[in-house]
Amino acid sequence: MSFEVLWRYAPALISGFGVTVLCWSMGAAIGLVLGFVIALLYRLRVPPLRWALRAAIEVIRGTPFLVQLFLLYSGGPFIGLRLEATTAGVVGLGVYSSAYFAEAFRAGFSAVPAGQIEAATSVGMNSRDILWRISLPTMLVATLPSIVNLLIILSKETVVLSIITVPELMYQMQTMAAETFTAFDAIFAMAVFYWLLVEAVSRLGYRLERRVTAFMAPAAGRS
């Protein structure tokens, strides 16, 4: 271990970490929104739309992220889609994760007891209010742990972006390791950065979970 090397490369590493966090959070945001929209469209029960969405989800889940990223970044220009490396990375992460998030949301919707929707309808709530006030709060109980799972997996998936030259943490680490022959230090620093990120995400997840399960606490206390 040489802390001197790590110190010298600290600005590059920290900027790399910043790019990683930025790509991850923007990609996850796109994925969450897109996934939610897909899950909503899936609930419309229009058969051709369902088949198309199912096919898209299975192909996106079935193939490695690296392959999809290559298709987007290197194959895109053939159909006139010329993206910057970082933009391609964010869009790629967003599309890739949307398939997983869509399935997580679909699982969540299936956890909402039908009686609750019926009760809401019978007291005269419109479908938008039912979605936001009944379905969403209930489904988050079932689905938040899976979403945190996926966010953590996605944060580790961002290392793939280094391959299309996005200057994120892995990219900076490889530069450092190649210039100073300090592979071990690079891996060590990398582990620390990612551990920080994963730990922060899990903590945030648990706090959110406590918030969304707050309505269940009295019932659990009584039993």
Binding site: G62, A107, A111, T143, P145, S146
Partner: protein, 219 residues
């Protein structure tokens, strides 16, 4: 241009590697389900120590990258005289990591089963084991199937990492083909096709399970 014969020539080699990938992944999934179930029970337990241990398991195995876990099991334990065979290290590594994710998925699903149901079953004289087997688990499984299939497809793709302990699985074999034929695109596309095919089978199984488990629900 593309030379599909590269893949055709090494089809037997790729198929054997795909079999290895499937074997390692399925064993990892099965082990992960067993671990995930136990860890989830521990986390939901009223015993503070058990709940904390479960929480620690999840935060450790989700926080440490799978690659590091595999290297640790295979190389680091050997330093202390614990010689883990490559296959056991691969399956154990995949299963233990997947167990953490599966525990969280199950926990969410169990939380979503209305607590009134277990109370009603208790009032009707169901034993605790029966409540789990007949009321909680069937519903929790129905809710968690899509997320579990998410996790299985991710595990299948993560199984490419077990090549670091010397197992000739799909990704490693396609790398070998790429370097011996100088046709990386064809070799990797061939491997991707195999991954897609296996994942489609997993998704199909998930679909079947979902239908079977949804039989009791009104939606």
């Amino acid at each position: 241009m593309m030379q599909p014969q590269v893949v055709v020539h090494s089809l037997a080699y790729l198929t054997r590697a795909a079999g290895m990938t499937m074997y390692v992944s399925l064993a990892g999934i099965a082990l992960g389900m067993a671990i995930g179930f136990v860890v989830c029970l521990a986390r939901l337990s009223a015993n503070y120590g058990l709940a904390r241990a479960g929480g620690f398991y999840v935060s450790f195995f989700r926080g440490v990258p799978l690659l590091v876990q595999l290297l640790f099991i295979y190389y680091f334990l050997a330093e202390f005289g614990v010689d883990v065979p490559a296959m056991a290290a691969a399956i154990g590594g995949l299963g233990m990591a997947s167990g953490a994710y599966q525990a969280e998925i199950l926990r969410g699903a169990l939380n979503a089963v209305p607590s009134g149901q277990a109370e009603a079953a208790t009032a009707l004289g169901f034993s605790r084991a029966e409540i789990w087997r007949r009321i909680l688990l069937p519903q929790a499984l129905r809710i968690s199937v899509p997320s579990l299939i998410n996790e299985f497809t991710l595990l299948l793709k993560a199984s490419s990492l077990v090549s670091v302990v010397g197992i000739a699985e799909l990704t490693r074999v396609s790398m070998n083909i790429a370097s011996s034929t100088y046709r990386p695109l064809e070799a990797y596309l061939g491997a991707a096709a195999f991954y897609l095919a296996i994942n489609l089978c997993l998704a199909g199984l998930g679909n079947l399970a979902e239908r079977r488990l949804a039989a009791g629900s009104l939606q």
